[in-house]
């Protein structure tokens, strides 16, 4: 009765079968299937009960027709034979011709009955079969009784008892037959027929009694009493049951009662009853012949009535049984067809809802929601965080209608929009905070920026040792503060104020970076190859080395040296910074290396807290990542930590590049003038001699625009210098008067840059951040 087999349902390819889907399917299938099973069972029970009733009724009725009607005929013959036998016995012999003729008729009737019974008995119910067998057994004794009668060995009471017994059994049979028929009408009719039969039997006994008395010529008192009982019984029985007779039978009965034979019989019976016991038949006024004529006529009619009644009742019962069966079968077929039709309709509806509509929609919803959660939403989040404007309203999860699934889709869509709006708000907040922060930091930078050059001017001719010491201390503080401010700007994605237009020597950068920490006096430079660093990475390299120096110095005891060496490798340069500290635990080292490989975002700082070394490592990791430098922490031979930094060749300018070297060697008077002493940085003195004195004056003068002018104008003989490149990371709106082609350069924080653009160039356009200017000013 199962409408669908869950395993046969085809799944969309690649879609995993989820348990919830199986559960919805199976539970719905179960909910639909069980009522149908109940309907089937009810239908079967209904069919069985109605059809069984009909079949049983028909079986009994046909048993009545097949067994009882021949039995009535046979028993009628036996009744006649009984009367003749008793008369003969009473007469003490005489003419046996009539009896023998009657015996032959009885045998024929009983033979007919037995043949019919044999064929019918196999299918008859036990309630009928048992009394029928008793009856046939009893009738089987008939020849024995006859022979004993012929031999004069049987007494009158014995003979009477035998026949009475036969009829008692027959009556019982008919009674049982009548009462077990399920059909009420048939049952009542059958009982009436049985009563009729019993009346006939009683009347027959009365007839035999009187016949015998008339033959013997006397009626003893006990037989008179018997007569009274028999007479009263059969009349009462008839009157009591007349109303239950079939109309036709009843009409025939009325005709019998109003017939002269009936009236004469009643008169004769009354006479006999009133007479009491007698010893002379003449006293009664009833002759044997008259009595026989009357009782034969009335008894035969009563037997015919019995047969008629039984015949009609059984015919009706068979018809009723047939009707019941027909009705039941027709009803069952009709109900079955209706149920079957409804079942197929339900199944089609079920399939169209479950397989055709519900499950595919659920699967589509699932797939789309997954797509939304795993691809669309994250990509939109990324766009939001990178500063793009993202439309919150989306077309995702449309077309699901307004039913429950549609409501789920709506909920998903609302969730997505809420998440997106939250992300946009968060990004805006972050951007605002960042903008504010950068603005404030730039103010600090503005204040600090001119100080080093002024300090240099003050220092230049200062001879007083005390004031010199004070200026040194001031310079140190300013330099360190500037370092912090620049770090902040860089990490916030903004460009720091300090930039370079030409390469600088690596040694100089290493020393300058140490000078930006408070541990500058602990730097010990080992061998560092004489290489230049391209201008665009000088700032980042300064800041990164400064952090690594600070890290090394803070992890080693005060007063110990921090050794720095650099080794050229095939594809670049490796700088090693070693301290003599206590080293890092393997866990700390692994953590630091992990930080370098996968630089954490700002969010991770929440977990790291504000511990200096973590901030330092965070800064190093960010700077290294954006420049594709590789930083790794290991163990130094001094038992401390050794940081190794790989700088790719693309960031280096070697002396082999003669033309480039010409362009920048002059900027580094100290380094370029250095003697080739080991282990100090070496530079061939002759190569640099003569150019060193004049250049610094020239180079210190120009304003930002000057170097570009001089390179492009005055030094046309030189190859294109790299100083154009360092401005690439300038915010687009940083210099309003600068060529706009800079704005197309890649930037680290587009959202921020957008803000700067708006802030600097067209404040009216920046409608989304109306308050930013006020915050900054």
């Amino acid at each position: 009765m199962s409408t669908t087999d869950p395993d046969n349902v085809t799944k969309p390819p690649g879609e995993p079968q989820s348990t919830s889907e199986r559960s919805i399917r199976s539970s719905l299938t179960l909910a639909v299937t069980i009522p149908w099973i109940v309907v089937l069972v009810l239908w079967l029970v209904w069919c069985a009960s109605f059809i069984t009733d009909g079949v049983y009724t028909r079986l009994i009725a046909s048993g009545v027709r097949q067994v009882s009607l021949p039995a009535v005929t046979a028993l009628d013959a036996v009744q006649t034979e009984r009367q003749l036998s008793q008369e003969l016995l009473a007469a003490g012999g005489g003419d046996q011709t009539a009896l023998q003729q009657q015996q032959a008729r009885t045998d024929a009737a009983v033979g007919d009955m037995n043949r019919t019974i044999e064929s019918a008995l196999s299918s008859a119910p036990a309630a009928i079969a048992v009394p029928v067998e008793q009856l046939t057994t009893e009738l089987g004794k008939l020849p024995q009784i006859r022979s004993r009668l012929a031999a004069g060995q049987v007494s009158s009471p014995e003979l009477t008892d035998y026949y009475n017994n036969v009829f008692t059994i027959a009556t019982e049979l008919f009674d049982v037959q009548s009462r077990i028929v399920p059909d009420t009408d048939a049952s009542q009719g059958g009982i009436a027929a049985t009563a009729l039969f019993r009346s006939t039997d009683l009347m027959s006994r009365e007839s035999a009694l009187i016949s015998t008395a008339l033959t013997t010529g006397r009626l003893p008192a006990d037989q008179h009493l018997q007569l009274i009982q028999l007479n009263g019984s059969y009349h009462t029985e008839l009157e009591k049951n007349v109303s239950y007779l079939k109309p036709a039978v009843r009409a025939r009965y009325e005709r019998l009662v109003s017939s002269p034979e009936w009236a004469q019989l009643v008169v004769a019976e009354n006479k006999l009853l009133q007479q009491g016991e007698w010893s002379d038949p003449a006293e009664t006024g009833v002759s044997l012949e008259e009595w026989r004529r009357l009782t034969d006529a009335v008894g035969g009619e009563l037997t015919a009535l019995t047969r008629d009644q039984a015949d009609q009742v059984s015919t009706e019962a068979v018809d009723n049984g047939d009707n019941a069966i027909t009705t039941a079968v027709a009803g069952a077929i009709a109900a079955g067809l209706f149920a079957l039709g409804f079942f197929f309709w339900t199944r089609r509806r079920y399939r169209s809802v479950i397989d055709g509509s519900l499950l595919p929609r659920l699967q589509r919803l699932s797939a789309e929601a997954r797509e939304l959660a795993e691809k669309t939403l994250p990509s939109m989040m990324r766009r939001v965080r990178s500063g793009d404007r993202v439309e919150v309203e989306s077309n995702a999860l449309q077309g699901y209608g307004s039913d429950e699934i549609g409501q789920v889709a709506d909920a998903f869509r609302a969730f997505q929009q809420e998440a997106l709006q939250a992300a946009i708000n968060e990004a805006d907040t972050q951007q605002g905070a960042l903008t504010f922060y950068i603005g404030q930091t730039r103010r600090v930078q503005s204040a600090l920026g001119p100080l080093p050059q002024r300090l240099d001017a003050l220092l230049q001719n200062e001879e007083d040792p005390d004031r010199l010491g004070a200026l040194f201390a001031l310079d140190e503080s300013v330099t360190q503060a500037r370092h912090v401010v620049e770090n902040q700007l860089v990490l916030c994605g903004a460009a720091p104020g300090r930039r370079w237009s030409r390469p600088r020597d690596l040694t100089e950068i290493l020393r300058a970076s140490a000078a930006e920490t408070k541990h500058h006096d602990r730097l010990r430079l080992g061998h560092v190859p004489s290489v230049g660093v391209t201008p665009q990475v000088i700032g980042d390299m300064l800041r990164m080395f400064a952090e690594l120096f600070a890290n090394a110095a803070s992890f080693s005891p005060p007063g110990t040296d921090v050794h720095v060496e650099a080794v050229s490798v095939g594809s670049g340069l490796v700088v090693q910074i070693s301290d003599r500290g206590v080293g890092m635990t393997p866990d700390a080292r692994n953590g630091a290396n992990e930080t370098m490989k996968n630089p954490p975002g700002f969010a991770s700082l929440v977990r790291l807290g504000d511990r200096g070394e973590q901030l330092g490592l965070f800064t190093v990791a960010q700077l290294a990542e954006r420049n594709e430098w590789v930083v790794e922490f290991g163990t130094s031979i001094y038992q401390g930590v050794r940081a190794e930094i790989f700088i790719p060749q693309v960031h280096l300018v070697t002396e082999d590049d003669e033309e480039r070297r010409d362009s920048w060697s002059g900027d580094v008077p100290v380094a370029s003038a250095s003697a080739p002493a080991q282990p100090l940085p070496t530079r061939v003195p002759s190569a640099a001699s003569g150019t060193v004195v004049a250049e610094p004056v020239v180079q210190e003068e120009p304003k930002p625009e000057a170097p570009r002018a001089s390179t492009e104008g005055e030094h046309m003989d030189r190859p294109p210098l790299p100083q154009r490149v360092p401005y690439a990371d300038l915010p687009a709106g940083f210099g309003e008067d600068e060529p706009t082609d800079r704005q197309s350069k890649p930037e680290f924080a587009p959202g921020l840059m957008t803000f700067f653009n708006a802030d600097r160039k067209s404040r009216d356009d920046a409608g989304d951040k109306p308050n930013s200017d006020d915050d900054m000013q």
């Binding site: 603005g439 730039r442 103010r443 503005s446 920026g449 100080l451 080093p452 050059q453 300090l455 240099d456 220092l459 230049q460 001719n461 200062e462 001879e463 040792p465 010199l468 010491g469 040194f472 201390a473 310079d475 140190e476 330099t479 500037r482 104020g497 300090r498 930039r499 370079w500 040694t507 100089e508 020393r511 300058a512 000078a515 500058h520 006096d521 300064l542 900027d667 008077p669 100290v670 003038a673 003697a675 002493a677 100090l680 940085p681 003195p685 004195v693 610094p696 004056v697 180079q699 210190e700 120009p702 304003k703 930002p704 170097p707 940083f734 210099g735 309003e736 008067d737 600097r760 900054m776």
Partner: protein, 122 residues
Amino acid sequence: MTAPDNDAWYDDDAGRMVRSYALTGGRTPDAALSLDRATQVVATLADAGHGAAETPEHEAILQRCGAPQSIAELSASLSLPLGVIRVLCSDLLEHGSLARSRMVQPRDRDILEAVLAGLNRL
């Protein structure tokens, strides 16, 4: 953020990269050495430019002191503050790779009189 252009410093606009205090390790000149700007120093021949120097600046001084140089001259030619030169020179004097040069003072009377006359005219 009032003047963005003023917030950008190119090359040494923001002062020299290696700060002066880092060149001396934070030390200031020892007054007892009495190295004034006119003091002349000269490299001792044996050690000139070889092995005596701790820093490139030391070496640069030794390079330039093949002939006697005044502290002021060194300061100008190396673009280093006077105080830094004094500290570095005192390092080298202490080490022996640099020596004070006997100063030969010009004693031209005509020049001195011309100076006096000039001063009087002021």
